[in-house]
């Protein structure tokens, strides 16, 4: 079987910096992309593509500037071109809204991080049964629709419960990230 020739040896140091930066900001990038696309596997794909492009262009990166800002520009572009590819999908925002969401989302990286921290606390505070239900509903490859179908009559109940729990979590997160006395 043919093995392609090695194109060039990357400088180890260069690669180390890439690995170090990328690993550090990967969760932020994932959350950024994730706030734009409804589906987890879409997010995965865009993140993957973003990683490749970041590596390809890494020699253009100025180590003195903020990596996340630079990476967000690439991720935004990759997410947009992905959006165009799947524009037929009825769940994808129209382009002008998508761009608006991307631009605003890029400035909210630390906000997303705080929300995630709050979410972990909220989940821990949640009754075990609810948490397990959520885990089951969110197992990749298991769609609530399928779960509900298998359970027969209680399809609507599944959705209701999921929605209720998710909203509860959101409220909990909101209560933890927004300072008291800021209401009204």
């Amino acid at each position: 079987m043919p093995e392609p020739e090695n194109l060039s040896d990357p400088s180890d140091e260069h690669y180390e910096i890439f690995v170090q930066r990328f690993t550090r900001y990967e969760p932020d990038l994932r959350r950024f992309i994730g706030s734009l696309l409804p589906d987890w596997s879409d997010t995965d794909e865009v993140l993957q593509q973003t990683a490749l492009v970041i590596w390809r262009k890494f020699d253009q990166y100025d180590p003195d500037t903020h990596f996340m800002k630079w990476a967000c520009v690439i991720a935004r572009f990759e997410a947009l071109s992905y959006r165009r590819k799947m524009a037929r999908d009825r769940l994808v925002f129209r382009e002008e809204l998508f761009e608006l969401m991307a631009d605003e989302g890029a400035d909210e990286v630390s906000e997303r991080r705080k929300e995630l921290e709050a979410l972990e606390v909220c989940l821990a505070e949640m009754p075990g049964k609810s948490r397990r239900f959520l885990t089951l509903a969110y197992t990749p490859g298991v769609k609530v629709k399928d779960m509900a179908e298998e359970a027969g009559s209680s399809a609507a109940a599944f959705y209701m419960r999921l929605k209720r729990l998710r909203r509860k979590l959101l409220s909990c997160v909101e209560s933890k990230i927004q300072p008291v006395g800021n209401q009204g």
């Binding site: 040896d9 589906d39 997010t43 089951l136 969110y138």
Partner: protein, 553 residues
């Protein structure tokens, strides 16, 4: 500043957002939602926040699986109020939350694997249809005695529509609906689906979470429909008893109206029954023994690890346990050489063979890899690892790969047809003299017979391959047993062995021209790999397997 809360939104906006996330939104609604979003920065911000939470929830399984995620830890430390209430009412029957949750996730993991098997891919794995489907998995078994070796089972085995017969001992069966059965032998259980089973004999405790409500258990003289609860069933020599520990069940008997039984109720189904005095399998004790056994296995592995690390023939030994939260994986071979530590990228730290005790790295995502640099010249190669392959997605699925595949550098991988491959570059400056026009650089690949198909998905396996230039043979091993050994012909002699820059779980760097060829990430996880500058003997490989294995592979 205006408060930007979900609850401040109009009711229809909240519903649209939920419908969008659940992928059930109607096109007209989606248009309206987008119009409102264009007009309202607050709405956009809330959608991003909500969607962020939605995505985080989707990654729960990863966190939970690693057994160090905040969810499990919290649950172990502080059972929530629901559990506390139950503790007051039924002290004996409280599942140890953390362990139960682990078992639960394990079952779900398998459900994912079996569901994600793409029928279109099955053709590529050979003529025989792999049997990766099942309705349940055997989570744990203790002190089992089998009627015959042919009906014996291992932990982790999948159960399809079939009988499970246990002469004595205790087993825990996790149905993919989410229901858990703990059964004490002598027992005969017939699995009919993820939602239905028959108990012909045995002491059974069923735990049915809300998601598995409606689970049916057929006893000889009645059918029990579980309405989300916990109950026990005894079927022994004509005696049948049922007892409801929590929640509610429906009892259907021939010619009679369905009877509802609630928490605390017990009933003798047969004339000789003795209601309420049955000692059903107690899963708290079961959990304790399970934890003990795992701890014993893990401790013995640690002893083995520490002694193996001193083997002077080791080039590298990685067990994928991290120090803190960094992305560095130490090379444990003594004396320590920090320059040869590995760094992982995109690979995910997950649970290893002893969840909660030992880590592993998962290379599921296309760019996942662990990189390292192993300088020096060697005289032979032996590669030994514990790996759990979920599927063979790529034409070549990397185990351990030299970066440039230059002279003396190894490629150890699994082909999509399940054959292990080991090759070492002989001369990268000229083509193979036997096929000068092939365009291939001069190397030879040594294959094993197929050692993996979809039925092995999710199973931990011990793989080893040895390149022995003195004995002039390349051998492959699975779980300590040699599966093939092939002569190295004079033309294909290798005289120099090197590694240099290399990767576990993938090959090359993402800038290569043909990503389809270059990306060889292994869809699975590895929890240790050892590379030797020596040709290990058959006995040594068998010994490494025995010493590093656990009771549950």
């Amino acid at each position: 500043m205006k408060k930007e809360d979900f609850n401040e939104l109009a009711a229809e906006e909240r519903d649209w957002i939920d419908a969008w996330i659940d992928e059930t939104i109607e096109p007209e609604e989606f248009d309206l939602l987008q119009d409102r979003m264009m007009a309202s920065p607050a709405l956009r911000r809330i959608v991003r926040r909500y969607q962020g939470i939605n995505h985080a929830l989707q990654s729960i399984h990863i966190e939970a699986d690693s057994a160090t995620g905040p969810w499990l830890v919290k649950e172990e430390e502080a059972p929530d109020s629901t559990w506390k209430e139950k503790i007051v009412a039924f002290p004996v029957f409280i599942p140890m939350a953390a362990v139960a949750a682990l078992a639960f996730f394990f079952g779900l993991g398998l459900m994912y694997v079996t569901r994600s098997v793409d029928p279109g891919n099955q053709a590529t794995t050979g003529g025989e249809k792999p049997s990766a489907s099942g309705f349940a998995v055997i989570e744990r078994i203790f002190d089992p005695v089998w009627e015959a070796a042919s009906v014996s089972r291992q932990e982790g085995d999948l159960l399809g529509a079939e009988n499970f017969v246990l002469q004595s001992g205790t087993a825990e069966i996790q149905f993919f609906s989410g229901a858990t059965m703990t059964v004490e032998g002598p027992a005969e259980i017939e699995v009919k689906s993820a939602w239905e089973a028959v108990c012909r004999e045995g002491l059974v405790r069923m735990q049915v979470p809300p998601a598995a409500r409606g689970f049916k258990l057929q006893a000889p003289s009645a059918e029990i429909v579980d309405l989300g609860t916990e109950f026990g069933l005894e079927v022994r020599a004509g005696v049948e008893n049922v007892e409801v520990f929590d929640g509610e069940i429906l009892l259907h008997r021939d010619g009679q109206e369905a009877k509802s039984m609630k928490k605390g109720a017990s009933l003798a189904l047969s004339p000789e029954g003795t209601d309420g005095k049955v000692n059903f399998p107690n899963d708290e004790r079961f959990e304790e023994r399970s934890i003990d056994q795992r701890k014993i296995d893990f401790d013995s592995w640690k002893t083995h690890r520490d002694s193996l690390a001193k083997d002077q023939r080791l080039i590298a030994y990685y067990t994928f346990d991290r120090n803190g939260s960094g992305s560095r994986i130490p090379n444990l071979a003594m004396p320590r050489k920090p320059d040869t530590d590995g760094t992982f990228i995109l690979a995910e730290p997950v649970a290893g063979r002893w969840p909660g005790l030992k880590g592993a790295l998962e290379f599921r995502r296309p760019g996942s890899r662990m990189r390292m640099n192993l300088p020096g010249e060697f005289s032979a190669f032996s590669f030994v690892c514990w790996v759990r392959v979920d599927s063979l997605d790529r034409q070549y699925n990397a185990l351990f790969m030299g970066d440039g595949y230059e002279n003396g550098e190894p490629h150890w991988q699994i082909r999509e047809d399940g054959k292990m491959m080991l090759s070492v570059m002989i001369d990268d400056s000229r083509p193979n003299p036997e096929w000068p026009k092939s365009g291939d650089r001069f190397h030879r690949v040594y294959f094993s017979p197929p050692i993996w198909d979809l039925s092995n998905s999710g199973e931990w396996m011990h793989l080893a391959s040895v390149f022995d230039p003195v004995g002039k043979a390349v051998s492959h091993y699975v779980n300590g047993e040699q599966v093939s050994s092939q002569e190295i012909e004079p033309l294909y002699q290798v005289t120099e062995f090197r590694i240099g820059n290399a990767e576990v779980g993938n090959w090359g760097l993402p800038f290569r021209s043909d990503p389809n060829f270059a990306i060889r990430n292994l869809n699975g996880r590895m929890d240790e790999i050892a590379i030797f500058d020596a040709a290990l003997s058959e006995a040594e490989i068998a010994d490494l397997y025995e010493k590093s294995r656990s009771a549950r592979r």
